[in-house]
């Protein structure tokens, strides 16, 4: 099968001050697939995913070497605006972070900052996004309520809906279930599988079972290097590198 490359990291090095967090990482992200990054804490996987929407540039004293592409566009190119990249590459964070606003305003916010004023269109888009994020049924009667009143799992799906509303092409999930209970986690995982029909997805996870359940491709990170990358099935059944095998069989982590 012929996979189309949606995003590509090319020889990426990343530094926090003098500490090198990523060492020569190259990786292709395929369209309409879920790519998981696994590895122990501090291995650089979260740092890596945050390069795809240029979130790391908010952190002072960091430096990036290497190139990252979205389709054919080099996202750190001199004429590229981070705002445009973030519109196309959305992100769902580790802890649900809804705005202290109403459920409706949480979703419409992204549309409004992107210059959309048509009220009917916004309303339709809010409903559509909440439906896609499988939370519409739970909130449709209380769109005016504060988003902070929702449970953690609902808040996380709201954050996913918020990201869908701006018509993103890629969604980055940075340990999206780290603070959720098992039932909420299942819902998010089902949602990810549903969303890959329309989006390219990158997920960072601590949970190897989760990577095995939701992803098509998996990259294993250790101490800032990508040790191994391949089809999830292969990584979990016949890892090439002994370090990968040691990690997935639970010998460290």
């Amino acid at each position: 099968m012929d996979n189309q490359v949606k995003m590509r990291a090319q020889n990426v090095d990343f530094f926090y001050g003098k500490t090198q967090a990523l060492k020569n990482v190259s990786l292709d992200i395929y369209a309409n697939k879920v790519t998981a990054m696994i590895g122990p804490s501090g291995c650089g996987k979260s740092t890596f995913i945050r390069l795809f929407n240029r979130m790391n540039e908010l952190v002072p004293h960091t430096a990036l070497r290497g190139k990252i592409f979205l389709d054919d566009l080099e996202i750190n190119g001199p004429l590229v605006d981070a705002v445009d990249i973030r519109r196309r590459v959305g992100m769902v964070f580790q802890k649900p972070n809804p705005f202290p606003k109403s459920i409706f305003d949480n979703i419409s916010y992204g549309l409004k900052v992107n210059g959309i004023k048509d009220k009917a269109f916004i309303e339709q888009k809010v409903e559509e996004s909440l439906k896609k994020a499988a939370i519409w049924g739970e909130v449709k009667d209380r769109l005016g309520d504060s988003a902070l009143k929702l449970s953690g799992g609902q808040q996380q799906r709201l954050c996913i809906a918020r990201c869908l509303a701006v018509e993103t092409e890629v969604i980055l999930f940075d340990e999206p279930c780290a603070s959720l209970d098992p039932i909420s986690t299942t819902k998010i995982e089902e949602l990810i599988l549903e969303l890959k029909k329309d989006y390219s997805i990158i997920i960072v996870t601590h949970n190897m079972q989760q990577a095995a359940r939701v992803s098509d491709y998996t990259g294993f990170f250790l101490l800032g290097e990508m040790v191994e990358f391949g089809k999830t099935q292969d990584i979990f059944t016949k890892p090439q590198d002994p370090k990968t095998e040691a990690y997935i069989t639970g010998r460290f982590g």
Partner: protein, 282 residues
């Protein structure tokens, strides 16, 4: 058993300190009220002073206080908020910002009479605003600035990084994020700073002594270039000048009581706003 006893003794000590504080506050209100309530009436609040300030009311004095307090906040709030936003959100972190912060904190420590002299030299004389509402408001505004800046800074810092990131990740610019997410979230904290500074500004005497206040003006202020009577200075004037100290003293206590209530009322209103904002956001 012994542990519990000493612990209870400790808590009792803490309770006593708290009670002493509340008692002091109660005593102030009681003494002011006991001496001031006698002159308080509808006429006292709605009429102008008469007969060399021994009769009539203090309406223009209340209005004057409201004007200069409001003027001070109108001047200090946008300026202070802008400063706080710059310091928290835009300025590069480092030694320069730390020096700026320390300077602002030092500004808070400047004695209020020094602000008064500064206002006289700069606003009254140099800019030629004269002794007026404008000069007084500007002087009081400077006094309120450090309070507003530091409380706004605290409120801005308290806004979690995670929701800023959420906003940026949706394609909002930094300014859009500040305007739409950070400021509304920080608003209750910012209002607290405004409450505190209103209380302080309304009661200050020294800064308006040379810049705005008059012992007596006929009627209400006409424009922002008018001199005004204001409660704190009026109290001072009634107690130190004039030919009828006994009659004036009663009015002074009446003024104190009104000033106390005025500050309570303004603060109460701001607290109400803050609570409403909080319930909307959480």
């Amino acid at each position: 058993m012994r542990k519990e006893f000493s612990q209870n003794l400790g808590f009792f000590g803490l309770f006593l300190c708290m009670a002493a504080t509340i008692l002091t506050l109660g005593a102030i209100v009681y003494f002011i009220a006991a001496r001031g309530l006698g002159v308080l009436s509808w006429g006292f609040l709605t009429q102008a002073p008469r007969s060399a300030m021994t009769a009539g009311g203090i309406a223009p004095v209340i209005v004057g206080t409201l004007y200069i307090t409001l003027g001070a906040i109108i001047f200090a709030l946008p300026l202070g908020l802008a400063c706080a936003i710059y310091l928290c959100e835009y300025s590069p972190k480092g030694i320069v910002v730390n020096i700026l912060r320390i300077s602002i904190n030092n500004l808070a420590g400047v004695p209020s009479v020094v602000f008064g002299l500064f206002g006289l030299a700069v606003f009254v004389k140099f800019f030629g605003f004269g002794v007026s509402i404008l000069s007084g408001s500007l002087t009081l505004g400077i006094l309120a600035l450090p309070m507003i800046i530091s409380s706004a800074q605290e409120a801005l810092i308290a806004v979690p990084q995670s929701i800023r990131e959420a906003s940026l990740s949706l394609g909002a610019s930094k300014w859009e994020t500040i305007k739409n997410i950070v400021l509304p979230t920080a608003l209750p904290g910012i209002l607290t700073g405004v409450i505190l500074s209103i209380g302080r500004v309304a009661g200050e005497t020294a800064p308006i002594l040379f810049t705005a206040a008059a012992f007596y003006t006929r009627g209400y202020p006409k424009s922002i270039f008018s001199e005004v009577m204001a409660l704190p200075y009026h109290i001072y004037a009634l107690m130190t000048e004039g030919a009828h100290p006994d009659k004036q003293r009663a009015i002074a206590y009446g003024c104190s009581l009104v000033l106390l209530f005025l500050v309570l009322f303004i603060s109460g209103f701001a607290i109400f706003l803050r609570q409403r904002q909080r319930s909307l956001h959480g």
